[in-house]
């Protein structure tokens, strides 16, 4: 084990308000609204960015983001650390809410944005305007590029486009079983490329 006991060559920023999501979640569950404000700062960009990508409409995205953030507050007492990280819990909730909104709109009106959203397959490389770390974005882009075209389109049309697998099959003119399989093996390839693991 080598050891660096000397100071590192950049100034140490003492951020008195910092806390890990796990610590913050525990405090939020006990009704600590200051901890919630910090959790908001850490998570709202990811929640909003994802919802906005799926819904596209800024006003709607803001509304759904507000719902999700309040839901995090309301149900923080039910969050179980044994079942995943706070980030995972929060992003899963955000994606579900966005999809719920898509589906509920769909049942009342035709989706005029179908064509616009269908073009989302090529947009994986326009992710520059983000608050995520460069390396992470770079890696997601790289790893999406390592998927076959059908895998990538199946995964991104569903995740970013908000389409069901039946709709994706329709758009890509493929069999249902094929699309289900490409969604799964596409995500598996993505997982292996990104080096992520479950719990």
């Amino acid at each position: 084990m080598s050891e660096e006991s000397t100071a590192l060559p950049w100034p140490v920023i003492v951020d008195a308000g910092s806390g890990t999501p796990a610590d913050l979640m525990a405090r939020v569950a006990r009704g600590d609204s200051a901890a919630f404000a910090q959790l908001y700062d850490q998570m709202a960009p990811r929640v909003y960015g994802l919802i906005r990508r799926v819904l596209r409409n800024p006003a709607q995205s803001e509304e759904v983001t507000q719902d999700v953030m309040v839901e995090i507050w309301r149900t923080a007492t039910r969050y179980d650390a044994d079942r995943g990280s706070p980030t995972s819990w929060i992003l899963t909730m955000a994606h579900r809410r966005a999809i719920d909104r898509v589906r509920s709109e769909q049942s009342s009106t035709d989706r005029e944005q179908a064509v616009a959203a269908a073009s989302s397959t090529t947009e994986y490389d326009e992710v520059a305007e983000t608050v995520t770390t460069n390396l992470e974005v770079e890696q997601v882009r790289h790893c999406l590029g390592s998927l076959t075209e059908l895998q990538r389109e199946s995964v991104t049309l569903a995740y970013y486009g908000g389409y069901s697998y039946r709709e994706v099959a329709e758009l890509l003119d493929a069999k249902l079983a094929t699309i289900k399989a490409r969604m799964r093996d596409g995500l598996i390839r993505l997982r292996d490329c990104l080096g992520v693991t479950g719990r």
Binding site: A26, A44, P45, W73, T77, V137, S164, Y165, G198
Partner: protein
């Protein structure tokens, strides 16, 4: 839903691409199928990376509205668990002083999560000093452990305490590099700048004192010896620290 192809629904499920009725059916299956539920948990982490990659700042006024709404929103009561006669399950979240009843528990918790076996690390008498450092760090009330698989193969575990502004990086099962190459560790700050924290060997561990606060990710790259000033992104593995 008992046909074999039900196991293939993990992908559409994680992407929220199943219609309501199929989703409910799959969730019933998930409760009984360990391999599907393990796969869902892994694929969900991958899907969440797609979400994180499109992060964007929300309108500033939104925060005030959310804070106002939570001020008038009652939180749900916690679910009451039956007081188990079985031993307490080990938790993976931070290791508080209270829960820190010996490094064995912490070691088991991390190893049980599929990571490096800190137990082995602990048993090796030659590394007692390092173990003490690790134990001290794990005992910090804000200690946090993150772990990731590396692109090169192998895993990295980062144990850190923002309060102590210290981290220990443990590398495990990395392939040996040719003589002219070296592994290099980096910390990325909120301003997206990468800071080298030095080179390391394939079986190295590293104590980083200072400069942890405000950093968002640990990076590991393969560089030409004696190391680089800019990371070689094509070789980079990144482990988010927040």
């Amino acid at each position: 839903m008992t046909t074999p192809e039900v196991h293939a629904l993990t992908g559409p499920y994680v992407l929220n691409a199943l219609p309501e009725d199929e989703r409910i059916g799959f969730e019933e299956h998930l409760a009984d199928c360990q391999s599907c539920s393990a796969e869902v948990s892994e694929l969900r982490e991958a899907a969440n990376k797609l979400g994180t990659a499109v992060a964007a700042p929300p309108p500033p006024a939104l925060k005030a509205r959310v804070m106002a709404e939570i001020a008038t929103t009652r939180q749900l009561p916690p679910l009451l668990r039956e007081q188990a006669a079985e031993p307490e399950p080990l938790r993976r979240k931070g290791f508080s002083r209270r829960s820190f009843f010996g490094l064995a528990a912490a070691g088991l918790a991390v190893a049980g999560a599929g990571g490096i076996a800190i137990d082995q690390y602990r048993e090796n008498s030659q590394t007692r000093h390092q173990n003490e450092q690790l134990a001290a760090l794990l005992a910090e009330s804000d200690a946090q452990t993150v772990r990731g698989n590396l692109k090169s193969g192998g895993q990295a575990t980062v144990v850190m305490s923002p309060a102590k502004d210290t981290a220990i990086v443990l590398l495990h099962d990395l392939p040996k590099l040719p003589d002219d190459k070296t592994y290099q560790l980096w910390l990325e700050d909120k301003g997206r700048t990468m800071h080298s924290v030095g080179v390391t060997t394939h079986d190295g561990s590293k104590v980083i004192r200072g400069g942890i606060v405000g950093k968002v990710a640990l990076g590991l790259t393969i560089e030409n010896k004696p190391g680089a000033t800019e990371p070689n992104l094509s070789t980079a593995s990144v482990i988010p620290m927040v």
